[in-house]
Symmetry: D2
C-alpha cells in the first residue's frame, strides 16, 4: 500500500507518521511518499520523518519527491494538506480582510474566500492528475477551506475524494469531558457545513442525554457560549463565533498585534530548525506553540475504513444528494457518515431537528456563498466572485465586496 | 357589499375612497365602514371622506365607528392598515436600531422586528374577530411588516387573508418607463419575500426582453444599482439596498437629522389640520410631502378579482406550499398570483432562474428570521425572539440581539 | 398571422375553421395552411374548408401543401393532429392488444404504447423542423397519446409546445350540467396526467361546492361511477374506467364486433365522400357518427391567450417542474394553467388534496410508464420498451410485454 | 436482560433459542419469556425449548405465560411473530383471493391485505401495552405483512420498533454463492419496500461488480429471471414474480392442489407432535418440510446492535423521512440501515440509481396501497379499504375490490 502526502513539507506530516506507526498492525504501509514543491522543507521533513518513523518502529519506506506525477503514480491514498502561497499569503488575506472591517480567517469570510480562490485550481490539478495516475486512489483532504475544496473536487473531477475535518468530533470530546464518559460511547447526528456544523441528538451508549446532562455539555462547549448552545440544543463547533459574536471577534482581530497567520509565520524558522536537527527524532516542543493539526485521527479512521472495509462511523464532507432537503443535491455538506471500502455515505437523520430550525437560514446562506465561490474559482468569472462575497453573511455589502476583489488582485483560474 | 377599513384614521384611506369611486360601475359598494381606535382622527377622516366621496360621486354610505365588533359585522372585505403605537412607536424603533448600529426601518431589520412584535398580536385579534363576525370576508392586508403579519394570520387564524404590497408592481413600472411601453403589457415572475422580491423573466406582450432592453430596465431600476441588477438579471425592489448597500444606508440613517418616522410624525398636525378643514374635499397638498401609500391600486384589483370572479394576475403574499421548493411549505412568500373568487394561487415558475441562485441564501436567511419572529410574537418566548434576531442577516450578533430585546422592553403577547 | 395544421386531412380540421371564423373579430388570421402527406385527403379537405370558410365568412386565405417545410415557414401556430399509419394502424394496435388480453385503446395501455412508439419520432421531426423554420411559433398539439408526445417534444426539442386535451374541461361541463350553472362559472384544480386527471376543489363563482352539490356532480359524472367519484371527492375523466373497471371494459372490448379504430375506419369512405361533394359547404351529418374531436375550443383559447396576450385559465399538459412534488421535474403533467403571451404556467394548488392520496400511486405508475416509453421511442432501445410495458399498470407481466413487442414488429426510431 | 417472544407457540421460536445460545458469550440473556394465547402450543413449545436450550447450553431461564401483560413487564426486547387466526385464516385468505382470480399470498395482494387487516389491530394492542409496561424496550417485528405492520406501529404508537425481514440479505447470499466469496464481504444499497426491495450498487470488499460478475449474480438470482435482473441491474427478492410474472404465478396458484397455507396447516399436527415428544431436544426433521423462518440471524444482529451498541449494517424497515424523496416522509421503507444503541438509521444512497427508475412507479403504487390499508385497519373505514385494494397493482378493479371486502367479512377494528 502506498500513501502519498501532497504538501508533505507541512508540520502536520509527523502526526500522520505517528498514527501510521500505531496502526501498522492492522494496516501495514509499503511506501509513504512525501511530496512538496518546497524542496528545502521537503528535505527537512523527509529527514525528520525517517528518524521519527524509525524510532516509532514504522516499517514503511519513506520516500520524498518534488515531482507530483511520480508521487501520485500507484498511490492508494493521497492526503492533501497544501497551503497555496504559504502562511505569507494567509497573513496577507487576513490583513486585507481586517483592513476592510471583515473577518480575516482562513476558512470563513473574506479570508476564507481569498484562500479558496487560490487553492481550488491547484486542488483540481491534483485531482485531475489522480484521474490519470491512480484512478482508484482516494483523496483524503484536509486542505482548507474544506467545504469549498471538497465541493469543487467532487463537482469538477472524477477522483474519489472525501473532505475531513477534526471539528466533526468536537461534540464527542466536549460530551466525553463534560460527563466523564469515554469518547467512543458518544454519538450524535451532525447537521450543516464544514466549520458550520451542529451536533444534535447526542447519545451516550445510544441513550439520549437528560436535560441536566445537556446543560453540563453546554457549559463545557465553550464558544459560542452556554446560552446559545442551550437555545439551539446542539453543540456547534467554535467557528460559529464568527457569526454570533461577530463584534467581539472583530474587536479581538483588530486588537491582536499579530494575526493567526502572522503568528504561525513567525514560528516557522524555529520550527523547521527543530525538525532539521539530525538529533531530533521525536515531536519537537515548538510544535505545541504552533498548534493546529489534529487531522491524523480522522484521516487514519477513514483510510482504515476503506482499506480494511471496516465499518466506521465518522464525520465527513460529502455531496448532499437529498440528505438535507433544503440544500441543493450537489452541495457538499458535513454530516456523520458510514464509511467502508465502498466509500462514505451520510447517515440519515430520523426526523427534523426542531431546534436547528433557527440556523437553517444561516446554513443556506453560507452554502449559497460556497457554491458561488466554487463557480468563481473554476470559471475565473469576476461577477460570480462578487456575487459570492455578497451572498456571504459576513460580507454582503457590494462596495466592500468589490474592494476585497480589488485588493486580492484578481482571481487566478487554471483550466480544469 | 360592505368594505371595512381597520385603521381608517390613516391618511392612506382617501386613496381607497378615490379608487372605489372610479370602480363603482363594475363594483358598487353599499357601505364603507371606517374603524379606528383614535376617535379624533377617525372623526376627521370620516368628515373628509364623506366630502371627498361626495365630490367624486361615490354612492356608498360612509360610516365610522370605534367599535371593532360592529365594524366587522357583515363585512365582505376588511382592509387592515393599522400602525400599533402610531408613528411615535415607529420613530422609537428607528432610534433604538440606529443607536445599536442597526437598520432602523419599519419593515426590515431590527426596526421591522420591533414593529412586528407589536403588530402581530393585534392583527391576530382582528383575524379571530373576523372568524366570528364575518367568516366569509377577506382580509386585505397592507399593514407592515407584511411578510410577518401575513404569515402569522395565515398560520394562526382561519380568516381568509392575503397580504398585498405595491412593491410587487415595481418592476412593471420600471420596465414601462424604461421601454416606453404601457405598464399592462409588462409581465414577469416574482421570486422571494415581501420587500425582498425579484422580478425575472420579464416580458412585454409575452416576448422576453432583449439584452439591450434589459440594460435599459437595469438603468431605470434605481436601487440597488445597475451593476447588481445586471448581475442577477432581475429587478428587485428598493429594499435590497439594506442588504447590498448596508454601509451606505447606515451612514445615511446616521447622518439624517430625522428618521423617516420622525419626518412623518412632524407632518401629522399639519396633515390632520388639512383633512379637518370643512372646505377641503380633495387630496390636500401636504399629503405629497408625507408620501407612502400606493396600495389602493392593488387592493382594488384584489377585491375586484374576488367579488366579480375576475381572473386577475397580481403580486401577493401567500403560503408557499411548494412554490419555492427550498422554503418551508408554510412560509409566506411574495409571488405572482392568479386571483379570482376562489382566492389567490401562485403562478408556478417554469424552470429555476439561474441568476437568482445568487440570492437564494439571502432569501432563506430572511425567511428563517421571519418564521422565528412570528413564533416569538405568538408565544411571547424570549428565546425565539433572540434566535429570530440572530437569524436576521442584518443583526446576527447575539449580544446586539440581546440589547435590542432589552431596549424594546419586552415582547407583548396577546392570547391567540 | 399564419396558422398551419399538420395532418390537415383529418376530419378534425373543419371545427378549427369554424372557430377561427367565430373568433376572427378578435384574432384575424392571414393564412390557414393545411398540410398532410395524404394528397387525396388533403385535396378533399382543402376544397371543403374553402367552401365551409366562405360560407362562414372566414377572411383567411386557406392554402394546402404536402411540403412540410413550406407549411412551417413563417407559421405562428402549428396545430398538430397527425395519426401515423392512419386508422388502419390504430385498428391493428387495438387487435394486437385485445388478442393478448390487454386494453386496446389509442391513448392508454398497450394500444397507446404502440401508437406512441410510432408517433413520437414523427412529432420530433416536426418539432425540429419548427426550430429551423419558425422558431417563435407555438406547436398546439392534440395528437395522441398527448402525454407521451408532449413529454417527448418538451424534452428533446426546443420548439415551443403545449399539449391540449378537451378532457381537462370535462369536470366543468359535468358540473355545469349537474347544477344548472353556466360552464364559465365553474373552476377547479386539476391533478394528474393526460387521460388520468382529477378535478378537485371544484367551485362555482369561487365558492366551494356543498356536499349536496358534489353528490349531484358525482351522479352526473358518469364513469367511473358515482361511488368512486364520491370516495375520491374528485371528478376524473372517463379514461379512469380502464383502471378501475378493467374487467368490465375488457369484456366490452372482447364482445364488440368492431374496435373503435375499426368503426372509424369503416366510416372513412362515406366521410370523405361527403367532404368531397362540391355542393357541401357545411358540417356533413356523417361526422356525428364518427365522433371524436372537440379540441377546437381549447385550441382557440390557447391561441388567443398567446396571440392577444389574453390572460386565460385552461387545462394543459406542461412540464411538472415542482408542481406535483412526487413526480419528476421533467415529467409532463396535466394541470390547470395560466396562459398568456408568455406561455403556459401551472396554477399552484393550495395544499394537498387528501382524497387524491388514493390515486397517487396510480398516477406515479402511469407516469413512470410514460417516461420509459418516451425513452424507448427516442432511443429505439428494446429494453426500455419492455420496461415501459412492465411499468404500465395495465400490462406489468414480462412475458406479455415481450409478446406486445414481438407483435408490433419493432420500434421505429428516427434520429432526433 | 429479558427477551419476550409474542406468538411463541410458532415453530419459528427454536431458531431464536439456538441463536441466543450461540451468542450468549457476547449477549447473555437472563430470561426468555414465551407468550402465546394458544395454551397447548405454548406448553409444547415451552417444553421443547427448555430441552433444546439445555442441550445447547443456553443459560437463560425460559418462562412461559399466556398473560401478555406479564410477558411484557420489564422486557428489553419483544419479538413479535404472531399469526392472527392461525394458518386456518391464512388458507382462507388464499382461497378467497384465488377464487377471485387474485394473488393469494400472505404478504402481497389481496391475501396480504386480508392478513394485514386482521393483524394490525392486534399488533397495535401489543405496542400500546409496551408503552405502558416496557417503554424502553424494542419491538423486533417479523410478523407479516411486515411493511403494513411496521408502518402502522410506527405511526400509531410510541413503542420503539423495527421491522425485520431476512429478504434484505437475499442479494448477499446470491452474490456470495454466484462469485464464491464470503457473504460478509458483499454489500449494497437497498431500495424499495418490504417484499419489493431491490439491491443495487453491489460491491465485494467495497469494489463494484464487473459486468461479468453481475451477469453471474443475475444468473444465480432465480426469480424474476436473469433477463429482468440484467435490465434493472439490481437483485430483487423473489416476491417480484407476483408483479412481473403474474400470469405464470396465478396459473401455478390455480393448479396447485394445496395453497401454501393449506400445506403448512396439513403439517401442523405432525410438527407439534414432534415438538411435544419429551425425548426430542433438537430441531425435528419435519421442520424442514415446513420451511419458512430464517429470521433469527437478522433478529439477533439487531438485538446485539442495540444491546451492545455494536455498529451494524443491516436491512430493516423504517420510516422514510426523506430517504426516498418521492415517497411520503411517514412511509415505512426497506433500506440498509446503520444500527446501534440509538436505533436504526437509513444509510443514504449516493446518487439516484438510474436502472431503478423503471420500478419507481411500482414502488409508489404499492406504498400507496400500504398507506391506505394501514388507514383502513386503524379506522375500520370501508371506503379506505376499498381505495386500498383499488390502489394495489394486483387488484385495481373496483368490483373485484368490493368482492374481496364482501368475502373477508368486514374489517375488524380495535381502538388504538
Amino acid at each position: 500500500m502506498k500513501i502519498t502526502i501532497i504538501g508533505a513539507g507541512s508540520p502536520y506530516t509527523p502526526e500522520l507518521v505517528q498514527k501510521l506507526a500505531e496502526e501498522q498492525g492492522a494496516m501495514p504501509v509499503g511506501e509513504l511518499c512525501l511530496m512538496d514543491i518546497d524542496e528545502k522543507r521537503l528535505e527537512i521533513m523527509h529527514g525528520f520523518c525517517r528518524r521519527y518513523g524509525k524510532r516509532l518502529g514504522l516499517r514503511a519506506e519513506i520516500t520524498a519527491t518534488t515531482d507530483r506525477e511520480r508521487a501520485l503514480d500507484g498511490a492508494d491514498f493521497v492526503n492533501t494538506q497544501i497551503r497555496v502561497g504559504g502562511n505569507k499569503a494567509r497573513a496577507r488575506d487576513e490583513r486585507i480582510a481586517i483592513s476592510l472591517g471583515l473577518v480575516g480567517q482562513e476558512t470563513t469570510g473574506a479570508g476564507g474566500f481569498m484562500k479558496g480562490m487560490r487553492t481550488i485550481p491547484v486542488m483540481l490539478g491534483i485531482a485531475h492528475e489522480m484521474e490519470r495516475r491512480c484512478p482508484d486512489a482516494w483523496m483524503i483532504n484536509y486542505t482548507n477551506p474544506t467545504g469549498l475544496v471538497t465541493e469543487a473536487v467532487n463537482k469538477y473531477s472524477k477522483a474519489k475524494m472525501v473532505g475531513l475535518c477534526s471539528g466533526g468530533f468536537h461534540a464527542r470530546w466536549v460530551t466525553s469531558k463534560a460527563l466523564g464518559v469515554e469518547a467512543g460511547r458518544v454519538r450524535y447526528d451532525l447537521f450543516g457545513l464544514n466549520h458550520l456544523s451542529f451536533a444534535h441528538n447526542i447519545t451516550v451508549d445510544g441513550r439520549s442525554l437528560t436535560d441536566e446532562e445537556f446543560e453540563k455539555v453546554a457549559e463545557a462547549a465553550g464558544s459560542p457560549g452556554k446560552d446559545i448552545v442551550m437555545m439551539i440544543r446542539a453543540v456547534p463547533i467554535g467557528y460559529l463565533d464568527w457569526y454570533f459574536h461577530t463584534e467581539k471577534k472583530m474587536a479581538e482581530l483588530k486588537a491582536a498585534p499579530l494575526t493567526r497567520g502572522e503568528q504561525v509565520l513567525a514560528l516557522e524558522d524555529e520550527l523547521y530548525a527543530a525538525f532539521a536537527d539530525p538529533a531530533c527524532d521525536s515531536r519537537p516542543a515548538v510544535l505545541d506553540k504552533r498548534g493546529g493539526g489534529g487531522y491524523a485521527d480522522v484521516a487514519i479512521s477513514a483510510m482504515k475504513a476503506i482499506w480494511l472495509d471496516e465499518e466506521t462511523w465518522l464525520p465527513a464532507n460529502v455531496p448532499n444528494r437529498g440528505t438535507v432537503p433544503f440544500l441543493p443535491d450537489d452541495a457538499v455538506i458535513e454530516t456523520m457518515c458510514w464509511a467502508d471500502a465502498g466509500g462514505f455515505r451520510p447517515v440519515a437523520v430520523p426526523g427534523k431537528p426542531p431546534h436547528l430550525e433557527s440556523v437553517r437560514g444561516l446554513v443556506c446562506a453560507v452554502k449559497n456563498y460556497e457554491q458561488l465561490a466554487v463557480e468563481a474559482a473554476v470559471t475565473g468569472n469576476r461577477e460570480k466572485a462578487l456575487l459570492a462575497l455578497m451572498a456571504h453573511p459576513l460580507v454582503g455589502d457590494y462596495d466592500v465586496a468589490k474592494e476585497v476583489l480589488g485588493k486580492m488582485g484578481g482571481i487566478v483560474c487554471l483550466p480544469c
